[in-house]
Symmetry: C2
Subunit: 342 residues, 2 copies
DNA sequence: TTGTAGGCGTTATCAC
DNA sequence: GTGATAACGCCTACAA
């Protein structure tokens, strides 16, 4: 009645422990007849391996690294916090997690940092950087060393990664489009679209997604060309002021990426801007406050805790060559209002 | 450099393994002087117990039961599926999970079923039933046997549970209210509120939450008295037809509980009902289809996978007397549109 | 190709 | 009070 162990299998199959082990782990040749008997016994008794006991015996510890953009960024900060927490929580689970900050804006710097990774003592890397040919090559090199690589938050579609952990930004943009359309149900007007930089593929995909839904389902709304403000408060302020006069029918602002603080500041400065629908991405200290104060109507977010834990689970599954429960690893596109802010 | 073990502690403290164990687990009296030395060594070497090795040695298996409403119910079905999946996934983690279906409508039947639980071979129970005095007493009895009890999905505020795993239905109602208000941004009119039964405290709390937000933030909207249709398609159809004539300013339908299929059918039958905002709770086959078809504008949901895994983690933590990471166990109130439907 | 013996980090059972 | 010693379920030499 108790869970069967390798001993039970061995007895049931009339062979020794090591033979059972060999067929279970495909280590060496076993006479077909014996292999069959073992498999039959496994089947009959419903044996499932105790992975913890196995890891204990193997003295295995998983070593994972998160490669994250450095520098001040509210969203990345929430990720760093989540990684730390997860690392702490998993320490007793035989996994060590470290953070490697990189200058995400400089492809060469990224590669240089990636090359400092100790490929011998490493099991997996979760990488959150923009994809460039250099990065792609560096990743190929890491994978050749037998290390598992997951694209984290930003997909790396042209690189050979084991997995992508993050949301589909096209769908996130569609979600934004749908919210804009539903929030402006019977209204006509234009939508200001801002982001810090369209270099990030995230913003591009969100823009496409939003455009698709707005133009198809809500043609009475018009999304204006994307305004980029390269970390320049002055620029966005002026642009916003200009947009207001240029588009008296402005009904909404859609902030696709980082720079929400600047955007909100600018909105506040233009005191005549009232009753605009404001939608932003990512739950940070800034957007959280924006929701609470009623300055932001909705935030489209991904749960960073899930993001990190999913990356960890996926890397472990890859290491153990076990299957992933896709449903659990699907990162949700969340919609947050003040009322369901947690 | 490697993780210190009890052996290291013993050597460092100049005592035996057993003494270390006694100090670590407070089993028997140890001479204060030795206890101090052990504690100091633990501190110095940064020892943390390997819980998996411990569980292995203890031969511990966790036995958990989910007590769930039986009978046809789309939402419960999704939970059952999630429990099965989680049970399968955790089988190798030394946890056995079983499902006990109960006739949730009959307090005496619930108690009768609960009494069939084998309190000797059980570690924890997750209970999803309406709270009644009988249920409360039965739970007290289970807890007295040293078994951990978590209220699951529906809170049991007057019972002595270890924890509640689920969303705050008042907040869920507030979220619905906010969505209604934002979807009907500049409109005036009334909102039809339906549910299968207001006996469930979930519906009551959602109603309160919705009312609060609507009356405070969107006074131009008026939420009509709750209509209950006890699994009676005919009733809701007639009621809806009646409501339409009685309230020509009807702008939205808010379905607070189960019975979404019936509600949608009725909406379809009243073909003259067009352009109503429809908000429902819980992601099931029905609401999923409703979203896809554009019949439902938004669904307010709780992720059943998280619900189940959280309950499991909490019960384990209670068994091991370890701390819970509150942030991880917080169940989100999710807002699902067609675009972020997964 | 197969089996035996020992160890992984912890707990449990004995004697001392 | 204390300390050997043998489990727990699995893996890995090494020997046969």
């Amino acid at each position: 009645m108790a869970k069967p162990t390798v001993h039970d299998i061995a007895r049931e199959a009339g062979v020794s422990l090591s033979t059972v082990d060999r067929v279970l782990n495909g280590r060496a040749d076993v006479r077909p007849k014996n292999a069959e008997r073992v498999k039959a016994a496994v089947e009959r008794l419903g044996y499932v391996r105790d992975t913890h006991a196995a890891n204990l015996a193997k003295q295995r510890r998983y070593k994972f690294v998160f490669v994250l953009p450095e520098g001040p960024n509210h969203f990345v900060e929430t990720i760093v916090a989540a990684v730390r927490e997860a690392g702490y929580a998993q320490a007793s689970d035989r996994v060590d997690v470290a953070i490697m900050p990189v200058n995400a804006g400089d492809p060469h710097a990224i590669v240089a940092r990636l090359q400092t990774l100790d490929l011998h003592s490493l099991d997996g890397v979760a990488i959150m950087v923009p994809e460039t040919p250099q990065v792609r090559d560096a990743i190929a090199h890491i994978r050749e060393a037998g290390i598992h690589v997951v694209a984290f938050v930003s997909d790396l579609p042209n690189s050979k990664c084991d997995h992508f952990v993050g949301i589909d930004n096209f769908s996130a943009g569609q979600t934004a489009g749908a919210l804009l359309g539903k929030f402006l149900r019977n209204e006509t007007g234009s939508i200001l679209v801002v982001t810090n930089s369209m270099v990030a593929r995230d913003s591009i995909e969100r823009r496409y997604g939003m455009d698709e839904v707005v133009s198809r389902d809500f043609p009475r709304l018009r999304a204006l060309p994307t305004i980029e403000f390269y970390d320049d408060p002055q620029r966005i302020r002026e642009t916003l002021a200009h947009a207001l006069t240029a588009h008296p029918d402005l009904k909404a602002v859609y902030s696709m990426g980082s720079g929400n603080a600047v955007m909100l500041d600018a909105l506040r400065d233009n005191a005549d801007v009232k009753d605009l629908v404001v939608i932003a991405h990512d739950l940070t200290a800034v957007t959280r406050q924006g929701l609470t104060d009623g300055e932001i109507d909705a935030v489209i977010a991904q749960n960073v805790g899930h993001l990190v834990r999913s990356a960890l689970r996926v890397m472990r599954a890859k290491c153990d060559a076990t299957v992933i429960f896709e449903a659990q690893e699907q990162i949700r596109i969340e919609i947050i209002l003040r009322e369901n802010l947690y």
